[in-house]
């Protein structure tokens, strides 16, 4: 079974530019998560989707970050405009269903550097 795919693997942009990350979850997985992981810290949940609906986006900085999940499959996370403090690894994960016990599978992440 194919894993969670993320692209690009690396991205370098200047502050105030915009950037977008893409995630393709495991086929059939209803729940999709986006995390921000600053170097040396734990992943911080930005947004959780159940199919194409948002379950939790309480920690998403909505003035500059946006995310969507088209047709309940692929998802994109956008930052506009980027700040220096947005430099981090952005992880995408998916699970079969959010409730009960279902294991979350992670992609390899996108490392963003804002200069």
């Amino acid at each position: 079974e194919a894993g969670v795919a993320q692209s690009p693997r690396y991205k370098i942009i200047e502050k105030r530019q915009s950037v977008a990350f893409w995630c393709n979850p495991i086929s059939g997985h209803a729940t999709l998560y986006w995390y921000q992981q600053i170097l040396g810290q734990g992943p911080k949940l930005l947004i959780q989707f159940q199919n194409n609906g948002v379950v939790d986006d309480s920690q998403l900085p909505k003035d500059r970050f946006s995310a969507e999940r088209l047709k309940g499959v692929d998802s994109t996370l956008k930052i506009q405009p980027a700040k220096l403090e947005d430099s981090a690894v952005y992880l995408c994960a998916s699970s079969l269903d959010g409730g009960g016990y279902t294991e979350a599978f992670f992609g390899q992440g996108t490392r963003l550097t804002v200069v």
Binding site: G42, Q48, V55, D56, V89, L91, G98, G99, Y101
Partner: protein, 114 residues
């Protein structure tokens, strides 16, 4: 809101010895699951072990076991016979059985000395 706390930023263990990583959590939910994930330098998160909150028996997976103290809201990971390949960052995670929310602690970097 649920929280997960790991108070040990770094730990070190001699190869073949045993090490315990600590984790505490806070929640008012009754339906939840706890996990330990391993993240090597490649960044790929790997599930090490899981514990259902409704189970009293501590989970075990080969050299990995947990000490789940529900009343104290404590969930520690014991690694026996440590191997060089165990060196990584370890994260404790909480999964809500109601909402599916999955949150992580700050992580513990484990160094294994030959």
């Amino acid at each position: 809101a649920q929280t997960v706390t790991q108070s040990q930023p770094e730990m070190s263990v001699q190869e073949a010895e045993t090490v315990t990583l600590s984790c505490t959590y806070d929640t008012s939910e009754s339906d939840y699951y706890l996990f330990w994930y391993k993240q090597p330098p490649s960044r790929q998160m790997i599930l090490v072990i899981r514990q259902e909150a409704y189970k009293q028996q501590n989970a075990t997976e080969n050299r990995f076991s947990v000490n789940f103290q529900k009343a104290a809201k404590s969930f520690s990971l014991k690694i026996s016979d440590s191997q060089l390949g165990d060196a990584a960052m370890y994260f404790c995670a909480y999964h809500s059985g109601n909402t599916g929310k999955l949150i992580f602690g700050q992580g513990t970097t484990l160094q294994v000395k030959p």
